[in-house]
């Protein structure tokens, strides 16, 4: 006991009998740092589950999408431009591994341009494809939006993807009696989102000639103001000049505001409720992406996460502490021991 005490005293500043050094705090910090780095070198990658989305994006390219009452980057833009901007935001915001397909809608059908493809690897091609969308791709002037959504749902079901449908909800010709056509599928079988594009105030719809030059706006008599297919409405008998055989809709031409177009939010909400989709009005990228994430189904994928950072941070902390303390404490050497 006394020998040990004497030894300690004799070694003074930490030398033991063997001439070694009693390890000081600097040594232990270095050792922990080295062990931390070695642990980081051999750290395993753990498998975590991440969520990606598979979706078909269908964009309405009918005439009413040419109305300039939407916003793109703060400037007035046509609804189609705003929709393309939104499509770019969705493409950029989806996590890698997600797949996005693209389709267009006119007449009464959603027409698939390409099946869902991985978004990060094929970003430039998909973005270029979205940029190339044009109202001239429309093959007919009709715009049966509800039927288009129904066919889009059938298409998405075949692709095992969710449906994102961008439209202003303007039915042309108007629905008979304002009633939605029946939906054959099962509501909610395909998840997805209706994205409403356009402003709430009725605006004139630009008209183009056969060479694609703008020639003004549609007037009241240019478009069907009432759908006269199928049986006449219940109240037809009260109309002026009604005759059950010769004039079942009354004798006067229908009047209305079908030549003006606004975002038909109520119609789209009703359509969304009928088909089990969500609805959101096209806004900023953040809100749009949040809605897409909320209303599409996640597909779990395995993601490998590196755990090396944890021991490496510990090692870095030790080194920073070691040199930080050394730098902040007095730079003057310890005093020469006297005696």
């Amino acid at each position: 006991m006394s020998r040990a005490a004497a030894g300690t005293r004799a070694t003074g500043e930490g030398l033991d009998r063997q001439g070694g050094l009693r390890r000081d705090w600097r040594f232990w910090l270095l050792l922990v740092a080295l062990l931390g780095i070695i642990a980081a070198l051999f750290a395993p990658r753990i498998v975590q589950t991440g969520n990606v989305r598979d979706a078909v994006l269908v964009i309405d390219v009918t005439g009413s999408m040419n109305v300039r009452d939407a916003q793109s980057r703060g400037a007035p833009a046509t609804r189609l431009d705003a929709a393309k901007r939104g499509a770019r935001d969705i493409l950029a915001g989806l996590p890698c591994g997600s797949r996005l397909g693209l389709g267009i809608f006119t007449e009464r059908r959603s027409f698939l341009l390409f099946e869902p493809a991985e978004v990060c690897e094929n970003f430039a091609a998909i973005a270029g494809s979205i940029d190339d969308l044009d109202w001239r791709m429309a093959w007919e002037g009709d715009s049966y939006v509800a039927r288009g959504v129904h066919s889009g749902l059938a298409m998405a079901a075949g692709l095992k993807a969710d449906l994102l449908f961008m439209t202003d909800g303007h039915e042309a010709p108007p629905l008979p009696g304002g009633a939605l056509p029946e939906f054959d599928g099962k509501p909610g079988e395909v998840a997805g989102l209706l994205i409403g594009v356009g402003g709430v105030d009725p605006s004139p719809i630009p008209k183009f000639d056969q060479d694609g030059r703008e020639t003004g706006f549609y007037a009241e008599e240019d478009v069907p103001q009432e759908n006269r297919m199928g049986p006449p409405p219940e109240d037809a008998a009260s109309r002026a000049g009604w005759n059950p055989r010769n004039a079942p809709w009354g004798s006067e031409a229908a009047t209305g505001t079908e030549h003006l177009s606004a975002l038909r939010e109520e119609h789209l909400r009703a359509l969304a409720a009928q088909t089990g989709l969500g609805y959101v009005a096209l806004g900023n990228a953040g809100g749009l992406l949040a809605a897409v994430e909320a209303d599409t189904r996640p597909r779990p994928v395995e993601m490998r996460v590196d755990t090396a950072a944890i021991p490496a941070v510990l090692a870095l902390f030790c080194l920073a502490l070691l040199f930080g303390l050394g730098a902040t404490t007095s730079r003057r050497p310890e005093r020469l021991p006297t005696r």
Partner: protein, 358 residues
Amino acid sequence: MNAAGAFWDGLTRGWGVDHPAMLALLLLALLPLVATAFRRRGIASAGLVPDDPLSRVVGVGLRLAGAVAIVALVLGLAGLHRREQSVEREGTGAHLVLLLDRSSSMDNSFADRAPTGDQESKSAAAKRLLAEFVARRPHDRIAVAAFSTSPMPVLPLTDHHEVVDAAIDAIDRPGLAFTDVGRGLALAFSYFAEDTDEASRAVLLVSDGAALIDRRVQEALRDAAARTPVHLYWLFLRSRGAQGIYDAPASGEDSAQANPERHLHLFLQSLGVPYRAFEATSPQAVAQAITEIDRQETRPIRYVERIPRRDLVRPAFLVAALAVALLLAAKLAERQLRPAGRGGVKEGTDAIDLRRAA
């Protein structure tokens, strides 16, 4: 823009980190230059220590080891990697526009009926064979356009064949009503308007019929063909009973209205660009035609090969480990300078070095 920007560009073109904010921690690497891992001891007189260049070098080396350890750790934590590189190589291939007919007649079989049982619709046969064709041509840049009642750009020229496959997969879905070949061709030519590459350019038109081409569209097509030299291939999927492109009917019946396919063929021949038509009446004939096109389009092309990103996190940690191990070894070799008369000190050169280092 300026020299600093150019320098930064040069630095970041090949290399990158996942978390740039972490790089702020690089400032910690200055600490080992002002601090040390060793005990600092005072000595009575500087004259006691002879000037020793070796000791100086070792001292500087140990300080640097500390700095290197911290730099390597921070870079590793920030996710240092070598970016995906693209290397331009020479191969054989072409810039190719696939112009696909999406009219509803493509949904019928070659017997021009709704396909039953083991029969394949024309669009399904085209889809299968085009997918094989694309898979055989890895270096091509391919664009896809569709036409029916109106022309539709589907994909711009791209190297990524996965999305091309996705576009080809979509062609056997129900088609639209009409066949506007003329404007479809105009769209296909327009893909090459901005393509300045010297590669061979080809348009592969796949259709099962033709229609009249508007006179103005004809003129536009002649202009486009004169401006952009392309190779034109027409894969005509001929249904049973349909008129062929080569049979000349009796005089008097040979009008563009009655024989649109034959007259499209004559028109394409008159464009003044290399042109070949393949008339296929069965999936086997389509396969032969596609093999022939594959054989024809084998001129040299410069294509871009991607070398995938390489993570350098582990190598960075390895460097840090070596640097810290060096410091630790030096620390283990540290000897205490003791006042005279205490005895028992085996002071080797190591100790002198370290003292100097400190």
